[in-house]
């Protein structure tokens, strides 16, 4: 009975703490400008099912695709088992779904195979990161916390799977020894191999089984609460992120309505704009970005596919699309902490542009959309870069001299070079 009460308190506390932190994340995302991404619900749903649920964009790189698929399926399917664990924990039952008979055995057997797969895949992931040192996992932004974060996640998953399999092994042995409470249920294709390693003493077996059971479920609650601080948040946010992703052609940049109003008023003095919400042009800080940009930042799992295909990054420039996303999240978290401490109006004198992302980075972008194409969860670093450029150019008039010259030419000659508009048709005289 005591253990049931402890379990229920733990489950409630774990869920409540997660809800509290998740609300904070939602509040932070809502600091951004609203953007309408609720059109075409059917197409959005299909995009989510294909890209997030179906993992289609992962398939470009077959090895990580396969390994990630194992972990993903393991996560989704083994979590069915968590339902049983929660019921058992709250009501003091043991393997409450055992009544399903052969189907139950099939389920437990599949979970075991998947668990072994997850264990192996995570071990290979660790090797890829720390021993093989695959290039896209390095970079200036992948030092300290981001690097440890990735390893913590993988080690935790290995520990959770080890606990799950050891628990089953102890359970199988207890069943075989006819221990009370341990009804004969389940199939143990993987943990069956571990039975020989366990002691024969009933008390020790029960201790191991209980320890692993608690370790597994407490681990899951702890992991749940680790998510909002981690790149691993993508396991949840990938779904809304792909649902709300851009459905238009990648080359189509937004036309700023605020600018349209001003330009129309300039061309036609009698024009009266529908609504006057001047605001800032472009983005200096995270609040100037839109909510999808901010959701993108929380969704990013720092896999580095974007950076590995970025022409600027490949050729040694400072720009890294992954860093753009990580900086956006870091800055947003900082703004969020400021709000928690000092209230909504607090200004800390810092901003995303300059304190996190440098001018050199934003001007190195070729707007080629390779990063957007490469992202397995449809994150758009380019939109953030463009909004930062817009702020630099329209609010501050600060751009590389050659860019200013080009803009001057477009304005005066209708071409980015210094040619006379009268000569525009001269090409027809050549051969």
């Amino acid at each position: 009975m005591v253990s049931q009460i402890i379990f229920v308190i733990l489950a409630l506390a774990g869920t409540a703490l997660f809800a509290y932190n998740a609300r904070k994340v939602i509040r932070n995302i809502k600091l951004g400008r609203p953007v309408n991404r609720t059109d075409k619900p059917q197409e959005r749903l299909m995009t989510m099912l294909k890209v997030a649920f179906g993992q289609t964009k992962m398939a470009v790189r077959p090895i990580p695709f396969f390994l990630h698929l194992v972990v993903y399926l393991g996560f989704v399917i083994i979590n069915l088992e968590v339902l049983e664990i929660v019921i058992d924990g709250a009501f003091g039952t043991h393997r409450v779904f055992a009544g399903l008979g052969g189907f139950y055995n099939f389920l437990i057997g599949s979970f075991e195979l998947l668990a072994a797969g997850v264990w192996l895949a995570c071990a290979i992931f660790l090797i890829r990161r720390n021993i093989v040192k695959i290039k896209r996992f390095s970079g200036v932004e992948m030092k300290s916390w981001p690097k440890s974060d990735a390893n913590y996640i993988l080690i935790t998953e290995i520990l959770l799977m080890t606990a799950f399999l050891t628990m089953n092994a102890a359970d199988a042995k207890l069943q075989a020894l006819g221990a009370t409470h341990y009804i004969a249920a389940g199939a143990f294709p993987v943990s069956g191999l571990l039975v020989g390693l366990l002691p024969n003493n009933l008390d020790s077996l029960i201790f191991i089984e209980r320890f692993c059971w608690w370790f597994h479920i407490v681990g899951i609650f702890a992991f749940l609460n680790y998510l909002p601080y981690s790149k691993h948040f993508h396991i949840m946010l990938a779904f809304p992120n792909t649902y709300f992703s851009n459905l238009k052609p990648k080359g189509q940049f937004t036309n700023m309505d605020s600018v349209t109003n001003e330009v129309k008023a300039m061309l036609d003095p009698s024009f009266v704009p529908a609504e006057t919400a001047p605001g800032k042009f472009g983005a200096k800080d995270v609040q100037d970005l839109n909510r999808i940009n901010l959701l993108n930042a929380y969704t990013c799992t720092e896999c580095g596919r974007c950076t590995s295909v970025c022409p600027a990054n490949i050729t040694g420039k400072l720009l890294s699309p992954r860093k753009i996303m990580m900086d956006t999240r870091d800055r947003l978290e900082e703004v969020g902490r400021n709000i928690d401490k000092h209230g909504l109006e607090h200004q800390d004198g810092k901003s995303l542009l300059d304190d996190y992302i440098t001018r050199e980075e934003i001007w190195a972008c070729t707007s080629c959309n390779a990063c957007v194409e490469a992202c397995p969860v449809n994150i758009d670093p380019l939109e953030i870069i463009m909004d930062l450029r817009r702020f630099a150019v329209m609010e501050e008039s600060v751009a590389p001299a050659s860019i200013n010259a080009m803009l001057g030419n477009v304005e005066n000659n209708g071409a980015p070079w210094k040619y006379s508009p009268a000569d525009r048709f001269n090409w027809s005289e050549g051969n």
Binding site: P311, C365, S367, M406, P416, W417, F425, G430
Partner: protein, 262 residues
């Protein structure tokens, strides 16, 4: 040119309407190398007897480089002025000689009051081939020649046009070789996002060198392009690698015109 390129003003004065407007673009108008591509597009249009016209001196920058550089004001000023001209001429269909103009007019003008059917010149060539109006005969033979095609970002990834330019090359019976990074994974030439007009940030190498090395690795006789800015970057790359004698960079329109003896 052996024929006169008709302008919209002349067409209007004669009370005629073209089937399609050829939007030349700034590079196509002023850049010496790109002017050749422009003339070749005209030769193709003339050859197939399509009723077309250009805006001539009434054309102005679409505003694309201004928009990518972050100057939305200037972009919209340019866009609205252009839309006024296009709408005054009652333009319905546009073919562009540049993927940047193509993307801007197709995707960003409708929101500002300019809605047209917009195609890139490689799509026009594909359509003409499909309709049997354009073949690969009467000119230079590209049969068995090794050609690699560089996807312009604003045609490929930005708008999903991958097949049209390849179709134009397939009819040549040439030996098409793909670079390692092609189609959706194509590598930028380094000119997009207003990079064309500025010095690159400091780094290990220039983007066009990275790209030309990949192109040269396919041991091509021709590198095919579909964008005047890619053309500049790729040509510079070939020159820097001292491969001008072995490898020629040509636009799809130039290859098509040559194959048809235009």
């Amino acid at each position: 040119m052996e024929f006169k390129v008709p302008t919209m003003a002349e067409m209007m004065a004669a009370g005629e309407e073209p089937e399609i407007l050829f939007w030349v673009g700034c590079a196509g108008s002023y850049d010496e190398r790109a002017q050749k591509i422009t003339r070749n597009i005209c030769k193709i249009l003339h050859h197939v007897g399509l009723k077309y016209a250009v805006l001539g001196t009434e054309e102005s920058c679409t505003g694309d480089p201004a928009k990518r550089a972050g100057n939305e004001f200037l972009f919209q000023m340019q866009a609205m002025a252009n839309i006024e001209v296009l709408n005054a001429y009652n333009i319905k269909k546009i073919v562009t000689g540049c993927p940047h103009c193509f993307n801007t007019i197709k995707n960003e003008y409708p929101g500002l009051g300019g809605t047209y059917e917009v195609i890139h010149h490689t799509q026009l060539i594909q359509d003409l081939i499909n309709d049997g109006k354009l073949k690969a005969e009467g000119g230079e033979s590209f049969k068995g020649k090794k050609i690699t095609y560089h996807d312009p970002c604003y045609l490929g990834r930005a708008n999903g046009v991958y097949e049209a330019p390849r179709k134009a090359l397939e009819v040549l019976d040439a030996d098409l070789v793909e670079m390692k990074r092609c189609k959706a994974n194509g590598l930028c030439c380094g000119a997009g996002g207003a990079q064309m007009f500025k010095e690159p940030e400091k780094g290990k190498k220039d983007v066009n060198i990275e790209r030309i090395e990949e192109a040269l690795a396919t041991k091509p006789q021709f590198i095919a392009a579909g964008c005047p800015f890619c053309m500049t970057m790729l040509n510079d790359g070939v020159k820097l690698k001292d491969k001008e004698q072995e490898v020629k960079v040509l636009d799809i329109a130039e290859i098509t015109a040559r194959a048809n003896g235009l």
